[in-house]
Each structure stands twice: as C-alpha cells, then as structure tokens.
Point group: C2
Chain length 314, copies 2
C-alpha cells in the first residue's frame, strides 16, 4: 500500500498508552516504520509485545502490507521525531503537558513533518497556542481503538496540511471528516455525549435499567447508525418526500420530544445507579473479556462492511 | 420454529403501511398465518406483492420456517381479529383513530388475544385510555424496518401479558426490552432524538455539514454502538477501573461537554441547511435506492452479528 510519506521517513508515536499502541499497530500493518516514545520506560519497553495481538487482529481482518513496518523505541521525544514524516501525539489530555512536548518536538522534527494530536477533549485552538509553526499542526482524533475504528476527525488551519492529512489517514484505510470550525468534542464525541446524557437520564428517571438501555441502542439505533447516519435515517423516515416531508410532518413532534429530554447531573445517586447497573450488565465479565468481545464484534462488523463496499450480498 | 400461539390461531395485522407490511413478512417467515386489514383497499390488495421482496430478504438472511404462514386479507378490522391470537396494530399515530379501532377490535377478538400497538410517538397511558381490557393491551414498538431490526420495546401494565409478549417476539428472533415505566419515545427514540438534536446543532452552528456528521456517526460511534451500548462503552473507557474510574476521572469533563451541547430549533434557516445537506449527501440517489442500500447494509450487519453470536471469528 502506497504511503504519502517518503520511503526513508518514519512515523513518530509520542505517548504509548491505549491510543498510541493502537496507532502503532495500524501504521506498522501498513508498512510504515514506527519510532515510539513514552515517558514511562515500562510502558515503552512493553510496547512491541502489546502491539503484537493488535497486528494479529489487523492480519485477520484482511490484507496488510507485504513488508510490515519496523517498530523501534527512542529515549526521548526529540530522538523519536528526528527522522519523522508524521508525528502522532497521544500525550495525556493536559494542555501544559502537550505544550511542553510540542516545544521539544518542533525543535527536533524535520521542517515538513506534520504534528498531529489525537486529542479527544481539547481543541486545536487550545493546543496551537503552544505551537510556533501552526501551519503544520493539526488535530487528528481517532475513535478508540484506532486500529479498528475507521473514523479520524481532522481540524487544520492550513488547507494544504489538511489535504496531506486526508491522504495520509485514507492511505491507512481510515475515513476522515474535516471540521469546518474548531469545536470541543469534534463531531463524534458531541454526538456521543448528547446520546449518553439521555441514556443517563433514562436510568436516573427509572424508565429503564442500564443493561436495557444498552440493549435498546445496540439492537435499534446503534445497528441502524452503523449503516446510515442520523440525518439520512430521518430523510428515509420521510418516505418519498424525504427530509422536507419529514420536517413538515414530524419536525414539530421532534421538537416536542426534545423538550422532554433530561439534563441529569452525575450526582452520587446517579453514579450508584450507573455503577450497579453496569455490574449487572457485565454479569461477572472482566474488562479484558468485555474488550475482547467488543473487538471480535467490531471485526465481524468491519468484515461485513467490506463486503457491502465490494457490492457483495449477504 | 415454535410459536406461543395456538396452531389454529393467526396474527391480525391492522394497518398495512411500511410498518404493517414489514411485520407481516416477519410473521409469515416464522410460519404464522397473517390476516391483514387496512382501511385503504388499494394498500390492502397490494400487500401480498409488497410482502414478497421482504420475505426474500428474510430467506436470504437465514433459515425461516419450513412452512411459511398464509397471508389473507379481511374486509374489516373486526373480521381480521376474529380468530387472532395476537393483534399488531399499526394505525396512524392519532389517539382518536386508534381508540376507535380498539373499540371495534375488543368487541370482536377472542378473549385471550393480546392487542399490541406499534406506536412510536404515543404512550401506553394515552392509548390504554381507550381500551376496556387493559390487562391485555401493550405497546410493542419495533424499529423500522421491523423485519430486519431486532429491537422491540415493550410496555405492559400486566406482568403475565408482558411475559407472553417477551416469548412471542423472541420466538420471532426479536430482542425485547421492557420499560419499567411508560415514557414518551420509549428508550430508543429518546436516544435517537437526543443524538439528532446535537446532529442538527452541529450543522446549525457551522461545525460540519450534514454528510460529514453522518459519516462521523457511521464510522465512529454508530459502528461501536452496533456492538456495545453507550454505558458499556464508557465502562470500557474507564480502563481496568471501569465505570467508577470513568466517572471519577472523566465525569466532570462529560458534564462540561453536556453544557456546550446545543438546543437548536427547526427554523426555516436550519430546515434549509438540512434539506440542502441531505441532497448533497444523497448525491442523486433516490429514496428507493437509499433504502435498498440501507437494507443491504443491515442484512450484512445482521449476518455478521449472527456469526458473532455463534462464536465464529472473522
């Protein structure tokens, strides 16, 4: 698979927690050399071993590069980026920590390397305040786990850098969307937060238990939204007249329903309901077991999606 | 496939629009005889032809009953329910229309037949006000299209009737969730409305276009929610400490994000953005084409899900 990077350059992965290890696997599977750094030596030295099962998942999912990339670790962020064409930063979600890292990285990185932050909760504006060359700084927010989830949400101030980012992540089989303006929570986490607020409200109001809310989502709207988006669903809900017909006939009832949605707080009582409810839903399964089940489900869903894209029928 | 109905009884389908035709296909595929009625003779006489492609989808998805049910049509609601063990009502979402229908149906139905309303926007309480024997009246809200979407949301005042409903819909391969108390929008449409409100807000605020919001959902949270629920996703987001850890560490940032979510109105300007945006996303594809694409995607997703349930790997 071709990459928009020079063959002599590598990807630097800064911060090797859950997000960094998953990015590493994705880059390696696509034949890119990865130079990783993490301030925690234990995390860094365990990385090759932690990446292995993720690479196995990617091999199971479909063809990966004939020549997988080489993974090496660096003693400092500066050393990691010295020969990098792309820098994927996954440091803790603290502005000061990231700013300090950018200062070190900007001084050491090749001039045309892009610095991409995986930040989930901070904005480009927050982070760019600590960057000198803002034209090459972007946010590139993946959905966890990045090696399986296709979405990468991009924001860049520079059009050319945005174009490079779109080519780069698409060359890794990702689906990119670009924000027209910087926003907290990008797109997907805003949607997820809005849905979770009501999911919490339904539990807090005693309409349904945690497990039933999750079941309703997975077997109802979640399944549908894995195939078509929310706007498109209402377009089809309007019948032959589409969105315009939907808005005419059911817009007012949506506005009335919006007025009945809740604005719960995460009070001690609500926390207790959520913690007890999830324990009941997990029914003794450990986090590791639940993660393995999620990953297997995601991989099957991704395989189904590939069939759909290739025009295959069930 | 066994059914909790007597072999001599049938299912009455009252109202044969999109929901009624899809229910009919599901019942028939599971070997149940269907007696259908609709006030519009044209709709009723076209039903057998409209059910055929839906049955073909169910056959393509997997094994259906060796002996498919028989579909017949009745000249009145009273005639349709005369021998019914189950009555699935899909009349227009108008309380007065449904109340008038219930009066006719209650007088003609066998005493132990359950009357189940597919209502999406009305509540059990609204509708039961027009029913004499409330112990056998339930809401059973499917997700569109019911023959493909597994979810059925139930509310019943009578425990024994709720139990019968759970057995009945599960015997049709559906996943049921029961509301602990009656609520507008049940569970799934409350979640869908909450998400769509923010999806509209993102467009209204100029953060992203309709098509990019849909793409972010389909390739991010939608894909994930087709595998695990929103509560479970945050449980896993908490790492080894699960939900309790998540709430301690990221609960406050969720509450801050909730405060930034929008409360748009469906003003003429917003309607214009939605209608133009969906036209751009549809890119010339007709409603029928988009529906066919949705159904094919759903069928592949359902086939993948069955593999996951059977313990198969990708």
């Amino acid at each position: 698979m071709p990459s928009p990077l020079q063959s002599t350059t590598s990807v630097a992965v800064l911060g090797c927690g859950l997000i960094g290890e998953s990015w590493s696997a994705l880059f390696l599977a696509h034949g890119l050399d990865v130079v990783a750094w993490d301030p925690d030596d234990g995390v860094l030295s365990a990385l090759p071993e932690r990446v292995e099962p993720l690479l196995a998942q990617l091999r199971a999912l479909g063809p990966v590069s004939d020549r997988p990339g080489r993974l090496s670790v660096a003693p400092s962020a500066a050393a990691a980026v010295g020969n990098a064409g792309w820098i994927q930063e996954n440091a803790p979600e603290k502005t000061a920590v990231k700013h300090a890292l950018y200062a070190e990285v900007e001084a050491a990185a090749p001039p045309d390397a892009v610095i991409a932050s995986s930040t989930s909760s901070l904005t480009w504006t927050d982070l760019a305040a600590g960057v000198t060359r803002r034209d090459r700084f972007i946010t590139a927010h993946p959905f966890n786990p990045p090696h399986l989830m296709p979405l990468v949400e991009l924001f860049a101030a520079d059009e050319r850098t945005l174009g490079r980012a779109e080519s780069f992540y698409r060359s890794l089989g990702r689906v990119t969307v670009a924000l027209k303006k910087d926003a907290v929570g990008h797109i997907a986490n805003r949607l997820a937060s809005a849905l979770w607020r009501e999911a919490v409200n339904i539990v807090a109001e005693g309409i349904a238990d945690v497990g039933d809310v999750d079941a309703a989502l997975v077997h109802g709207p979640g399944l549908r939204w894995s195939v078509i988006g929310a706007h498109m669903a209402y377009h089809l809900g309007g019948g032959p007249g589409g969105m315009a017909h939907y808005l005419d006939h059911l817009g007012p009832s949506q506005e009335r329903r919006w007025a009945t949605l809740g604005t719960p707080g995460l009070t001690p009582e609500v926390r207790r309901l959520l913690i007890d409810g999830i324990a009941q839903e997990a029914a003794g399964r450990s986090i590791a077991t639940l993660e393995a089940e999620r990953d297997r489900g995601l991989m099957l869903a991704l395989a189904a999606r590939r069939k759909a894209e290739e025009g295959e029928n069930p």
